[in-house]
């Protein structure tokens, strides 16, 4: 469901991607959809909704990234709440990361892309 990300990789991603803060709540991934973008949660609230249960995502976890890489539909709905800060990872960014100079970054991206 979620992927825990190493602090080193998060630090790299913060320099590579722009952090964004959501101003309004939004369903960012609908069940059955392929995510348009994966998200690394930095702070705030991301909620996974499965049937009637809800589960919160912890900071420094990524959601939707594997499904984005593999183009597989997500099995749950994900909602983001106001004032939540995330790092968005789109497909182009994953491809760029797979060519990074740093081995750990390349491995991180390639593991996701090659699992597709």
């Amino acid at each position: 469901m979620t992927t825990e990300i190493d602090k080193d990789i998060i630090n790299y991603l913060q320099g590579f991607c722009s952090e964004i803060v959501y101003e309004r709540d939004e369903v960012i991934i609908y069940e059955g959809h392929v995510p348009r973008v994966g998200f690394v949660l930095l702070e705030g609230k991301l909620e996974i909704i499965m049937s009637k249960t809800k589960k919160e995502v912890s900071p420094n976890n990524a959601i939707g990234v594997k499904e984005l890489a593999s183009k597989e539909p997500f099995k749950y709905t994900v909602k983001i709440y106001p004032n939540t800060k995330v790092l968005p990872l789109d497909r182009s960014t994953l491809i760029s990361l797979s060519k990074a100079k740093e081995e750990n970054i390349r491995n991180f991206a390639n593991e996701l892309l090659l699992s597709a």
């Binding site: 348009r36 789109d90 497909r91 960014t93």
Partner: protein, 237 residues
């Protein structure tokens, strides 16, 4: 519609020739097909929400989307209707601003998504995409100006007639009585688009029905007398 039945290639999209990628060759379309994310949005699902950051371009393959802004008191105001071949989210990408409106599917709508980085690169390499996006920006700006003028200069009755003509041109099919509007908008949504209350809209529709200019076939509005409707809309062109 199951995911398996969603066309995988851009070349197979029923709206290709209405879209911004219509001038691209096979090689470019194949590249697009590999990069895009296609999803089926059910009625009521949002593509993006006003005030949130843009991630890329949305290309409507089939279906219809309402673009709306939230007013004071949480009241929705529909500013635009988008259909097959239209793109959404492009203004936010090019102006680097957060979304200025919310896009919601009005029915089952198939939408392809291309991320911001990719589309900006593509626009740089393929001038025809820019040309088509500029065409749409120009068209939409013109429509917005017309709407602003109508809001200040026309009565609700005239604006109702104008909206029905717009829907007749974009979302209708011939029927025995005239033209049946195929886009199913609730009275609240129509009122929201016109900037009026549902009660006032219903009064205007009743008046049009009593003049035998429009009728009803089930839940669909039928335009029986388009000439008269044009007269009522008080078009300046």
């Amino acid at each position: 519609m199951s995911k398996e039945s969603l066309p995988k290639k851009c070349q197979d999209c029923p709206s290709l020739m209405e879209g911004v990628f219509c001038d691209l060759g096979d090689e470019s379309l194949n590249e697009l097909s590999a990069h895009k994310i296609t999803n089926l949005y059910k009625k009521g699902q949002t593509l993006f929400v006003e005030g949130n950051p843009p991630f890329g371009l949305y290309c409507i393959s089939t279906g219809n989307v309402k673009v709306s802004k939230l007013g004071s008191g949480g009241r929705e105001n529909i500013v635009r209707l988008a259909g097959a071949g239209d793109v959404l989210g492009h203004r936010s990408i090019f102006t680097d601003q957060y979304y200025s409106a919310t896009a919601t599917a009005l029915e089952d709508t198939r939408v392809c998504f291309l991320d911001k980085k990719y589309i900006l690169e593509k626009v740089g390499k393929e001038p025809s995409i820019s040309k088509h996006i500029m065409f749409r920006l120009g068209r939409d700006l013109g429509a917005s100006e017309t709407k602003i003028a109508s809001l200040s200069q026309k009565s609700v009755f005239e604006r109702t007639a104008e909206l029905l003509l717009l829907l007749s041109a974009s979302h209708s099919e011939k029927c025995d009585e005239g033209k049946k509007i195929t886009l199913k908008l609730t009275r609240e949504e129509m009122a929201s688009y016109l900037g009026t209350s549902s009660e006032t809209l219903i009064r205007c529709l009743s008046e049009l029905k009593s003049e035998d200019v429009v009728g009803q076939e089930g839940k669909n509005i039928v335009i029986k007398n388009e000439e008269k409707l044009v007269e009522f809309a008080n078009l300046s062109y």
